[in-house]
Symmetry: C2
Subunit: 413 residues, 2 copies
Amino acid sequence: MTALQRQGQAAKAASYALATAGTAKKNEALEAIARVLTERRDLWLAANAEDVAAARESGMAPAMLDRLTLTEERIAGIVEGVRQVVALPDPIGRADKTETRPNGLLISRRRVPLGVIAIIFEARPNVTVDAAALCLKSGNACILRGGREAIRSNRCVSALMREALASAGLPEDCVSLVQDTDRETARELMHLDQYVDVLIPRGGAGLIRAVAQDASVPVIRTGEGVCHLYVDSEADLDMAARVLQNAKCSRPSVCNAVECVLVHRDIAADFWRRALPLLEQVELRADPAAREILGERAVPAEESDWDAEYDDYILAVRTVDCLEEAIQFINRHGTQHSESILTTNYFKAQRFLAAVDAAAVYVNASTRFTDGGEFGLGAEIGISTQKMHARGPMGLEELTSCKYVVYGEGQVR
Amino acid sequence: MTALQRQGQAAKAASYALATAGTAKKNEALEAIARVLTERRDLWLAANAEDVAAARESGMAPAMLDRLTLTEERIAGIVEGVRQVVALPDPIGRADKTETRPNGLLISRRRVPLGVIAIIFEARPNVTVDAAALCLKSGNACILRGGREAIRSNRCVSALMREALASAGLPEDCVSLVQDTDRETARELMHLDQYVDVLIPRGGAGLIRAVAQDASVPVIRTGEGVCHLYVDSEADLDMAARVLQNAKCSRPSVCNAVECVLVHRDIAADFWRRALPLLEQVELRADPAAREILGERAVPAEESDWDAEYDDYILAVRTVDCLEEAIQFINRHGTQHSESILTTNYFKAQRFLAAVDAAAVYVNASTRFTDGGEFGLGAEIGISTQKMHARGPMGLEELTSCKYVVYGEGQVR
């Protein structure tokens, strides 16, 4: 048995204890985690400082370095996040489809944990705690595999969380960290079918695609966001310009930011007159029709621009002749994340909402709202862009499965 | 582009039309299918007769031959099944989580089809129509790949169904049959990620495991059933004997039949005195402790018996010392299908229901009730034994996904 197999076996055993632990016990463990991370934050900060120093020495880019770095304030935010998870309602044990059948059987469908959730993520030490807290509250054991660059931070914080779990009377193997950060171990984790119920990769599109391609355990794909805004011929163009500015510029690095705007030919000139002043820091990559209007302000779009997730101040621009062309383009080039139409026409709005195939479809609003908090689900572990199991922001309920519970009195069939 | 890729592309295009077709139109198509299968059943019977003749010539076993054979009566049953699907409520468009957020966004989670469902099945021509009807009603296009032995029957019935679809004004590519029945084409279908949203294998455990292992498209595993009955020290032993007889003998070839009985040591002799007369046609494979009681009536169980899905008049018998041993044994050797405890003790019943990890858990009832009809879901496409997406009997709702629909007035974040 390999080290990872032993870890998987221990997580599975812990998951059975956690599945029947009850809300009070799980909240107690989360409170213990919040406490130990606060009281012993110096340990965590020191380990993180070593990670940061090593990363700086190896020439990590400043933006990446910033994401790796912990501060007192960031730790306080992480701890606050754990306390918010304590406050969320526990989905486990809720039941629906409860009925007494004609033969007297009392049947009910009860929410249960998925079991063991593996999470592969990059060098953001906050993910370690966020993910563990959501898994714990939803009754799932988790196996965390973070990036090499954050290994000292992750070893420290996972040890602290395990200590907190034990102090609250839960198995410490409810949370465990994969100690090796090499690719072979990651690949082994993707094939640990016997012990891992679900694998959730969190990070860039490259990581997610690689994991989905290679894994034999079930994967939930999250956070791939090639999102579109379609400005219809009957849109309120001032509103459209403001929404585009927000959807592109308020935080271009996140997955719900818009990467491509589709503009109806009839209002394109009017629209761009209003929109250009709001997009000063944005590079535009446009099709020939749009370049006739945008002139020097745009560079020619290449084929690859229609499928690009820039995560940056870059926007693809395409001219369309009608709503149906926009819908077809989005269904072909989108990643089924978030798509929005700007229109004042009722029938076009309803048609777009019905026909566009995505986790979230909007009329007259920014795509930036696709988020667990904004949707009222509380904390989220990611935005699912697949259709199986969960779609859109994944809160606690999306980390559960169900079982049918049947009470009988000797019934036979 | 291969023939299968073209078929996938056509199915995807049809799925978009079907997704917004509305309940009345879908029911009209189902009624047209029921009508054409009735009116032109002679065509289907003739094609089937050729399949049966070829299969008999190649030496197919009588039980298999019987499953392949269509009769007037069986076709009437299949048509009746289609009409039952017409009568089921349409899950598409139902919404939940509807709320107006503080910023005025009106958010709702709406049921939508999965898209394109591929189904790989063996030589049972009824599955072709059952599966197509359930997919159609839930707004999904389907790609059917049946066994080689039924290819003439399947070609005929799929052509009839496509004709009915067209007559009702829906794209005929909502239903299509894979024309080649070789392994390479099946493997290509398992990797048609671009067009297939979900793959559901229907058939024996061997088929399902092979598909789940090989496929890169998402798979829903159904129908693997190593089910247990645990007879507790405090059971009503007459009830336990009757339930065991039903769970094993009423239809041993189906997935919800019991394959292994766990008997508490303290009541084993009493229990077997009552149970043996009811299990006359059953071969018992027992552990040493049970053999002391069963004597000549049982053969020794081998290690492989604890994981065997016999689908036959064979039963593995194991003696346990306590409830916890039974729970652990079931969680290790079960396939998470259906598990039942016989006990009069309230606390043991509750503990078993909570701790056993399966799609359906029972107290004092036969496992044979795990079925879409028995659970009140209407027709089912299979019993899911996985935790992702759907668990237990899969009705129409389990063939859907969701999308968040957001109505705004220019909101930005």
